[in-house]
């Protein structure tokens, strides 16, 4: 099996701090980790490889420091690591990110399944997985909580729903985004860590993947983060009383000035 796992380096959620000057996330002194959902995706990929043979390629679009995360992925069982990095990728939103990953994956070659975490804890959009699959023209299934079967030409999986789960079969090539219920990520092994230390991390820049400069980074992003701010603590609250209709009238009166 050829498995590609998309991972992202994010600041540790415990340490979220805003830089008061730039109004962006303060990165200095904040520990970077692999996005938790991606850890589960990686573990599932490694388990599939261990059970059915094959190779796990882990890929990330990120700054040079993301290499550390890729080495961690290798220590947890990934066979190959690709760092897609270029100054021009900076400021990318999920649209531009999906474009960039699409081109990187086309360069990596053929694959049976792409695994992603459900969402990244920074943006929480959950858009890159589905966006990437759409660009690649492959089917995707989100919120996967279990891989039931692998039959050589596809997978049978459980997709988590609000009120239970669906059992869905999908043929290769396909993309899955996974939830934390799917497994428990392993601790790196000693041999894995030794391998990771010596591993060669492949690097792709914008030119390597044939990216159109207008489609990557800030220029390629239809959405722009204008401001990031912590919400003001608001102490005031009101309890509405009366019949339901009366309460609704009061509620509308209160909301109108904000619209």
């Amino acid at each position: 099996m050829k498995i590609i796992v998309c991972v992202k380096q994010v600041p540790d959620a415990k340490d979220v701090r805003l830089d008061p000057v730039t109004n962006t996330l303060a990165r200095e002194g904040v520990e970077s980790i692999m996005n938790p959902y991606d850890q589960y995706a990686l573990e599932e990929g490694v388990r599939l490889k261990e059970k059915h043979g094959g190779e796990v390629v882990v890929v990330t679009m990120g700054p040079p420091q993301a290499e550390e995360m890729l080495r961690l992925a290798i220590s947890c069982g990934a066979d190959r690591a690709v760092l897609v990095s270029d100054r021009s990728f900076a400021g990318a939103d999920t649209w531009a990110t999906a474009y960039t990953l699409e081109h990187a994956i086309k360069k990596i070659g053929s694959y049976d399944v792409i695994l992603c975490g459900k969402q990244a804890i920074v943006g929480d959009t959950a858009q890159v997985g589905p966006g990437l699959a759409t660009r690649l023209g492959i089917p995707y299934l989100t919120c996967i909580q279990k891989v039931r079967e692998e039959n050589g030409k596809g997978l049978v999986v459980e997709r988590m729903m609000d009120d239970g789960y669906d059992v869905v079969a999908v043929d290769y090539p396909a993309l899955l985004t996974v939830v934390k219920d799917i497994n428990q990520p392993r601790v790196p092994s000693l041999k894995g860590k030794m391998k990771a230390k010596k591993a060669e991390i492949e690097r792709f820049n914008a030119e390597d993947i044939g990216a159109d400069p207008a489609c990557i980074g800030l220029p390629g992003s239809p959405t722009k983060v204008v401001e990031v701010f912590p919400p003001e603590a608001r102490g005031g609250r009101a309890v509405l009383t009366g019949t339901l209709d009366e309460q609704l009238d009061q509620l509308v009166d209160k909301l109108m000035p904000y619209l």
Binding site: R186, V187, P188, S189, L190, K193, M194, K197
Partner: protein, 382 residues
Amino acid sequence: MDYFLSEEQQMIVDVVRQITDERIIPNRAELDEKHEFPRQILNEMAQADLFGVPIPEEYGGFGGGCLEIALTVEQLGRGCIGVGTAFAANFLGVYPIIISGSEEMKQKYLPDVAAGKKFGAFGLTEANAGSDASGIQTTAVLDGDHWVLNGTKQWITNGGEAQIYSVVAITDRSRGPRGASMFVVEEGDPGFSCGPKEKKMGIRASSTTELIFKDCRIPKDRLIGRAGTGFITVMKTLDLSRPGIAALGVGLAQGALDEAVKYAKQRQQFGKPIIAFQAVQHMLADMAIGIESARAFVYSAAKHIQAHPKDMSKASAMCKTYATDVAMKVATDAVQVMGGYGYMCEYPVEKMMRDAKILQIYEGTNQIQRNVIGQELNKEYS
């Protein structure tokens, strides 16, 4: 304090620390309450290659020495010395093979041990032979191509869970201390069975049982080393493994101090956190002094043992004695600092205190250790 560990040593510490934080600490209370063997946790440790740490590289191990094993076991101890004992006793059962076994024997057993596929256990103690190990009654008689073992071992760690048992038996009583030999008994050998799990004060996750040999027949090639060298192998094994017990003590004490300080900072009495009171501060300070000196001693002793494998008895006995006495005191003081809460099962320190006691008893009581040290001093100065 910085002990300037090598990159590989730090790697080991990081991996074990993660396992301790993520797998041992959240589960230790339940394992203790249910007297449950931590098989799941040991499997994860196997998958992380930790069972290979002291196994030579040519048998699939990491090739680490005394210090690497001490570092591993110290981290485990911070979580639960029940789990730590299960892990350490595995090597107690395997060191005899490494020290005295033939090449064929090493090839047969060590790769599976390094991979965590088979666990070991060490069978020496009997009902009437604890500190006086020479009083063992288990016999092994050569009958054609087999040895036949008869007797009962008591309080064997990993009993019932291990697959490989290094067992000491008398092969020639007339030769006194040179009349014992060591054998590998495997799970499933005819005439070999394990008793029920003992109920203990502490280290309840560790499985402790009798080993029962009733005309137990094992092939001739299961003899470890030459006949009559049993007690020599035992002494060398214990010399090598005692720093591991010392390290367990350091780990347990560290875990206890961590809990006590955390508690003292947030528990308010008389209008302030109790860590503001000198009485409490002094207790915590003495605990910290004990731990750091024990740690420094264990690491130094481990390095000495790695460099001077023929001269390890005294260093080994000293660090075991000191670190385990520190562990008992620190665990007790941690309960005291935490007062009524420390006594409750909801908090982890009462278990640490119950667990710590065994450290002063097994692998040679601290009284026996002092005998060893005294005898070594006597030899040194003659």
